[in-house]
Symmetry: C2
Subunit: 218 residues, 2 copies
DNA sequence: TGTACATCAGTGAACGCGCGTTCACTGATGTAC
DNA sequence: TGTACATCAGTGAACGCGCGTTCACTGATGTAC
């Protein structure tokens, strides 16, 4: 874990930093991790990186642009990992959905700072097309999963609209992630089970109601 | 809707404000509504209320104490409304749970600022016993609902631990509230259905898997 | 009913601080020829 | 291979600003007698 300020001692010696944009993002991430997405100043990360307070303006219009870029990258990785977990619905829709759930929580656990930038900032998504695009790419995986689930619904069972199923899966995952995984350490509620088990059980119960079980729609 | 700053024109004329504590909370709520829980300064709400910057210190140790108090009151009202909606499980556990879901979203919709203070601040709950107590009171309603649901599970159906069911209900509700209801206007994702319908359908599908339907456990 | 006094709530001035942003600048890099 | 030059990335000083917090203070309130 990188401590804010620590990267200030990075060996530069040269007038040009060479990789300032990346270094700023990295420093911002570690501040977010410690204090939440509102917990740092633009000048502060410049100092942490060992650069004059004017330097970041070469790379980001302002603080918000930095956070938006962090969120965008977060969504990109998030989408990629969901896609990998979904794996085209193999070996089985239910198992693939469970894998998506695990990947969802794994991301929130491994990159809580990115997750906070993505979901806790209350950003005007409409005004950041690149951000919305990346977010849509992630949600598209969940939609595909919901489509597959609905296609596999046992005849005679009620088949809810796939979009609705996607939103249920997303909301349950996000709810568990934000209540029991994300955020600074003291903030999350303690529960006597792992968030992963909780989500898996929730998804299973939900999907079972659609007549889906692992292996049933092979 | 009260605008920040507006309450500065409240007719005082007197040296003592008389109700400063309440006025501060009210002003803070409207700032949170506009800019999120991190979006105001302690001195700023003093100015908004028309009082010297030192005055708030008579009532709150610091900014965090103010937010904690807002969150605590939010939890109290939240718990009260969930209790009313639950109504002792009448007329039927499933219907009562749906009513809880409606009350949950209604609260997030009607008091988005309180909801943000309660769930978006990343507060160290352990260090604020009064806050945790109030939060527990709200969660106790959901636990009671889950207990009733589990008691009514149709014989032969899998019966998950009641705590787990409570967490599922909570997470689904919170997920829907924070993704599609709460927050500043531009931040929430647009979906082609009401959050209320989305949550109701989700709860129904979930509970159906436990063998529960409205009226079945009368 | 009146008065003396303790308590309380808010004042306003002051402080040091760090922030966001700008500016003319300068050192490094890369490229055309 | 060498040189001139355009471009770029970071400098550092400066600015005005508002914040958080403190302090001795003062005006209002309530209460004991």
């Amino acid at each position: 874990m990188t401590c804010p300020g620590e990267s200030g001692s990075r060996s530069r010696g040269t007038y040009h930093h060479g990789n300032l944009r990346e270094a700023l993002i990295e420093a911002a991430l570690s501040f977010i991790l410690e204090r939440g997405p509102a917990g740092f100043a633009f000048a502060e990360i410049a100092r942490a990186v060992g650069v004059s307070p004017a330097a970041p303006y070469r790379h980001f219009r302002d603080r918000n642009a930095l956070i938006a870029e962090i969120a965008r990258r977060g969504y990109e990785r998030f989408a990629a990992e969901l896609e990998r977990a979904w794996n085209g619905g193999r070996p089985d829709p239910v198992i693939a959905i469970e894998n998506c759930g695990k990947a969802y929580l794994a991301f929130a656990r491994r990159e809580p700072a990115s997750y906070a930038a993505m979901f806790q900032t209350g950003f005007p998504l409409e005004q950041e097309p690149a951000l919305m695009l990346a977010a849509d790419r992630a949600f598209a995986v969940i939609r595909a999963a919901a489509n597959a689930a609905c296609d596999a619904v046992r005849p005679g069972t009620i088949r809810p609209p796939p979009l609705m199923v996607a939103l249920h899966i997303w909301a349950l995952s996000h709810g568990i992630a934000s209540l029991f995984v994300g955020g600074p350490d003291g903030a999350r509620r303690k529960i006597p089970m792992s968030p992963e088990d909780l989500l898996e059980a929730g998804l299973l119960i939900y999907l079972q109601s659609l007549g889906l079980r692992a292996g049933i729609a092979k």
